[in-house]
Assembly symmetry: C2
Homo-oligomer: 256 residues x 2
């Protein structure tokens, strides 16, 4: 049965979507069956994989509030083993529309339940907030992967995110585990980056992935071509780091 | 009467807080009376100016939902002419709590009305979303300043932001103007950055500020010291660009 991993951090611009897309692609390249669900109204996970808004057959909004089964909302990508359920800006409205709905926190969990059998991994890309869309994602997930930019504000927000995860575990999803903290946009020349890495490894120890994603301009170029890094520049440092992350995660499979 | 400028972009990590803090500091250094209001539950605008959560006398949540006047929530900074109304994570709850409240979209506008007389500029730092907190900020504002990271996803999100601004103008705040688009984190060595700059200047023409903020490590270091860039490294390129932005904005005063 597929593992559901939620990629979340309320701090903006820390590499959530870049991690969601490129981890999904690395796993799919290793022939794992992967579904990527975009829970961010910005819809970057879809466009970063080449989906065009005008060609969409449906979005995650339709599953959360429109009563459509997730199985009808799947979109293919250039990778055979990777499918996407995209998001569009109307998902912003869902935050307000869900407030007075039954089981408002469990909508995504209920919608994904029938899908878990068909995939090895389901990844969820979250928006930069701790509202109902992120709450739904944390409740649907088996584990949380936290991309952490090597900067001061990102580190400052980590305790709040951990606090929210604890609340979700107590109130809604006792089985929620920590997949790990991924250090992103690491620039070894910057003092602040080295300081953040040292602090995070000391405090969170083995919860921090061995793989570190360097700041790498190729990672910021590939979305404009609608391709994951391994289809854009497989020799880049950015690609190497996400393939290494994929291996680290696959190592955790019952019979790797 | 003070001008209220809302600093907004739903894309995360584009430099909203960095712009809010350093523009506020540049204006205050030119002896303009400035109030910075943090509408982001992350609370980075306060901590980036040295405020500690345990010493806060009150937050913007108290004005939106607690019925306290803004005048009681002011915190001094190291700059004589700059005061801050900080935010804390409980503001996340406001997005849900406001949904069923009277005049839910006008709460900030009503709270700021008595303050406008006392300041030359009121700046509002927004969270990375288009929910009720950003809506409140756009409705309270005279104009919107859009920080735009020179990257693909940031450019992709601009049309959605402009669409939202138009909706706000039609339904809530007809006087809302565009203060301008500020290009941030510009790295002249990156093709993607030069491409974005060319596209934005061609399409938005004079709506784009002349000042461009370069990627500058000193800007990511100063928040860890709780100082704006002009009190941390006044000779840095980052500081120069925000002083230039301040001059561009002051040029627009009735009798500059
Ligand atoms: N390691 C990296 N090196 C260089 N650029 C990167 C890297 N990772 C991400 N980027 C770029 O930085 C920007 C922010 O990354 P991304 O959009 O993935 O973050 P996010 O956390 O999903 O943002 P949001 O909070 O808006 O959802 C994007 O333009 C992306 O292309
Ligand atoms: N010009 C710059 N050069 C280098 N680093 C920068 C620059 N501007 C901002 N930063 C750093 O980049 C990160 C993102 O900036 P900032 O937090 O201001 O963005 P934001 O839009 O407010 O993010 P959020 O969407 O989470 O509110 C911060 O760590 C900040 O210190
Ligand atoms: Mg994202
Ligand atoms: Mg911010």
């Amino acid at each position: 049965v597929g593992r559901i991993i939620c990629i979340s951090n309320q701090k903006g611009g820390v590499g959530k979507t870049t991690t969601a897309i490129n981890l999904a692609a690395s796993l799919a390249a290793a022939e794992r069956k992967v579904l990527l669900v975009d829970m961010d109204p910005q819809g970057n996970a879809g466009s970063g994989l080449g989906l065009k808004r005008e060609n969409l057959q449906g979005t995650v909004y339709d599953a959360l509030l429109g009563g459509r089964p997730m199985g009808e909302l799947l979109h293919p990508t250039e990778l055979r083993f990777l499918q996407v359920v995209p998001a569009t800006p109307d998902l912003t409205g869902a935050e307000v529309e869900l407030v007075n709905q039954e089981r408002r926190e469990y909508r995504l969990r209920d919608a994904l339940r029938p899908m878990a059998e068909q995939y090895d991994y389901i990844l969820i890309d979250c928006p930069p907030s701790l509202g109902l869309l992120t709450l739904n994602s944390l409740i649907a997930a088996d584990s949380v992967l936290i991309p952490l930019q090597c900067e001061y504000y990102a580190l400052e927000g980590l305790s709040q995110l951990n606090h929210t995860i604890d609340l979700v575990k107590q109130a809604f999803n006792p089985g929620l585990k920590m997949e790990g903290i991924l250090l992103t946009m690491f620039d070894s020349r910057a003092n602040i980056a080295n300081q953040v890495v040292a602090d995070v490894r000391e405090y969170f120890k083995e919860q921090v992935f061995t793989s570190v994603v360097p700041r790498n301009v190729r990672l910021s170029e590939c979305p404009s071509f609608g391709k994951p890094i391994l289809l854009y520049d497989i020799k880049s440092k950015g690609c190497e780091s996400y393939l290494a992350l994929g291996r680290e995660i696959m190592q955790r499979e019952p019979n790797p």
